[in-house]
């Protein structure tokens, strides 16, 4: 099949719209990173290069505590969400129609677009009704619930293009269904599973709304901490912690992308 792009390259208009679009997407982020190295306390007035705000960050115990809580919530909820997401994807792709399959698909796709405020409020009401004290574990369960839907979609996309004949062949050769899944299917969908985990982890790292509703004393996550600071106004320390966060996530995503590229070229 020939594509428009193969027939003729981008026109000047195409180039301009893509360039403007990317500038719009990246300019605010670049400015934020730039001003994290500003010596001045005034965020928007350039006072020379300095790393003082990164130093201040290291001495901000509350911020460090929040980072630690966020990382633990992210690691646990992303892992749980990936396991549940792989199972849900297998159910959606392989199980065909079963009783309640429509409801199941609905429950998987709805949280993808549902306003977070509603998800947060409903989870909170559940925890209150069950009499569970809010804190670390309630946030983790909340994040698992929302991110498992994203994980499912990522794995499902890969699983539905995977040739089922391979798994059947393994079973014909004497594998149990479980063994065939673990030895044949899972290695094949591994990149999607890794991508699902990363997506779940990043979403958990980033979430403010659900965490605010489901968290309790002693379990303040980094976005909650940032939000309470941002409400008081811009401050260079927020720029510094944001820059670190952007750097870590961007490095992870780009590394994953390059890895996939290399595998395909090999």
């Amino acid at each position: 099949m020939r594509r428009p792009s193969d027939a003729r390259g981008p026109t000047a208009f195409n180039l301009a719209s893509v360039a403007l679009g990317l500038t719009f997407l990246y300019a605010p982020i670049v400015l934020l990173v730039l001003y994290s190295f500003n010596a001045s306390r005034l965020v928007t007035v350039w006072g020379g290069f300095s790393t003082r705000w990164y130093g201040a960050l290291l001495r901000d115990q509350q911020m460090l505590d929040a980072v630690w809580v966020t990382l633990r919530v992210g690691l646990i909820s992303a892992s749980a969400a990936t396991v549940l997401g792989v199972l849900a994807a297998v159910a959606l792709v392989r199980a065909g129609r079963f009783r309640g399959s429509g409801v199941f698909a609905g429950m998987v796709y709805a949280p993808l677009v549902m306003p977070e405020v509603i998800l947060g409020l409903s989870l909170l009401l559940l925890f209150v009704s069950l009499g569970l004290p809010r804190g670390f574990w309630t946030v983790t369960v909340g994040h698992t619930t929302v991110t498992l839907c994203y994980a499912t979609v990522v794995v499902q996309a890969r699983l539905s293009s995977f040739d089922r004949g391979l798994e059947d062949a393994a079973q014909d050769l004497g594998c149990t269904p479980l063994k065939a899944f673990l030895l044949v299917t899972l290695p094949n969908i591994a990149p999607a599973v890794a991508a699902a985990w990363m997506l779940a982890f990043t979403l958990s790292l980033d979430d403010l709304v659900i965490a605010s509703f489901t968290s309790g004393p002693g379990a303040t996550t980094l976005p909650m901490r940032l939000y309470s600071q941002v409400r008081l106004g811009v401050n260079p320390e927020i720029n510094a912690v944001s820059t670190l966060l952007i750097g870590v996530v961007a490095a992870g995503v780009i590394a994953a992308w390059l890895l996939q590229q290399r595998r395909r070229d090999a």
Binding site: E116, V153, A157
Partner: protein, 295 residues
């Protein structure tokens, strides 16, 4: 996982999880929206008392009422917040479509390697914290911010944008742009060039060929992009809270305030139910599309 037991387990685990942590909580929100506030913890009544058996259930059901909804419907502030949420989301979606389409179309015109890099470049900001990206706009839009410094350099009058509705629209367009561009790109990239060539051979100008062939064929992407942006934007909280002014009314913010500041849980729940009822049709459309694409 064709085996009976393994199959059932694969379905049961995520199914149960979503029933308990997604479906059941919604039933609770619906129930709470029919309750009224009391000065207690948790701050609502009636509460179901299982120890009293059927009598308790009867009493509980009797205590439920639609008074919270009636209160919301007669309060101009809630009605205004409802209408302005829909308006914000509709305006932002329209702007997103107008600026997202040329970007997606332009991307689809590049060679295969460049296309992949461009997709990556559009996705990358999505992986960057939402809160941080909105925060970045505060420094740009505030009175002595970067935008006004730039305007000052070229001797233009400063703009007072932070804490206005314009700032909320800018923030929404910025934050949701990847959600508009990617579905559009996905359909445009797959389009067969020979269709355009055929239209041109039959005497269409390039513009005519675009409006008669390319655009109609990209409508599924237009639908997906608009739904993916419109639905969450109606209930958006972070953007109006950080970039909007005290008079920027949006339902997501109303729920937050009712809950955290006013401690009026029934009102917060009723607003959530109204919001959900409004979004039910777009969400159902989105689910159908999602199921079609993925299976």
């Amino acid at each position: 996982m064709t085996g009976g037991r393994g199959r059932r387990l694969a379905i049961a685990l995520p199914y149960l999880w979503l029933l308990v942590f997604f479906a059941l909580p919604f039933a609770l929100v619906a129930k709470l929206s029919l309750s009224h506030t009391v000065l207690a913890m948790p701050p609502y009544a009636p509460r179901l008392d299982p120890s009293r058996g059927l009598a308790g259930v009867g009493e509980f059901l009797h205590g439920l009422s639609f008074t919270t909804y009636a209160r919301l419907g007669s309060d101009r502030l809630y009605v205004a917040a409802y209408l302005s949420s829909l308006r914000f989301a509709a305006i932002a979606t329209a702007i997103l479509l107008v600026i997202g389409y040329p970007i997606a179309y332009g991307m689809s015109r590049f060679g295969p390697r460049a296309r992949e890099a461009l997709v990556m470049a559009v996705i990358l900001p999505f992986w960057t914290s939402f809160l941080i990206r909105i925060y970045a706009w505060i420094a740009i839009l505030k009175p002595a911010g970067l935008l006004n410094q730039a305007l000052d350099l070229v001797h233009l009058a400063p703009l007072d944008l932070l804490d206005t509705n314009t700032a909320v629209i800018i923030g929404m367009v910025y934050a949701y742009l990847p959600f508009m561009v990617l579905p559009l790109y996905a359909v445009l990239e797959k389009q067969d060039a020979s269709l355009i060539e055929a239209a041109r051979d039959l005497g269409c100008t390039a513009t005519q060929a675009f409006w008669r062939v390319t655009f109609p064929l990209s409508l599924p992407g237009v639908g997906a992009g608009c739904l993916l942006c419109f639905i969450p934007m109606v209930g958006e909280f972070v953007i109006p809270d950080l970039l909007g002014g005290s008079r920027t009314l949006m339902l997501g913010r109303t729920i937050w305030t009712e809950f955290f500041a006013d401690r009026d849980w029934p009102a917060a729940s009723a607003v959530a139910i109204v919001l959900l009822a409004t979004l039910a049709i777009p969400i159902a459309l989105f689910q159908r599309q999602q199921a079609k694409v993925l299976s």
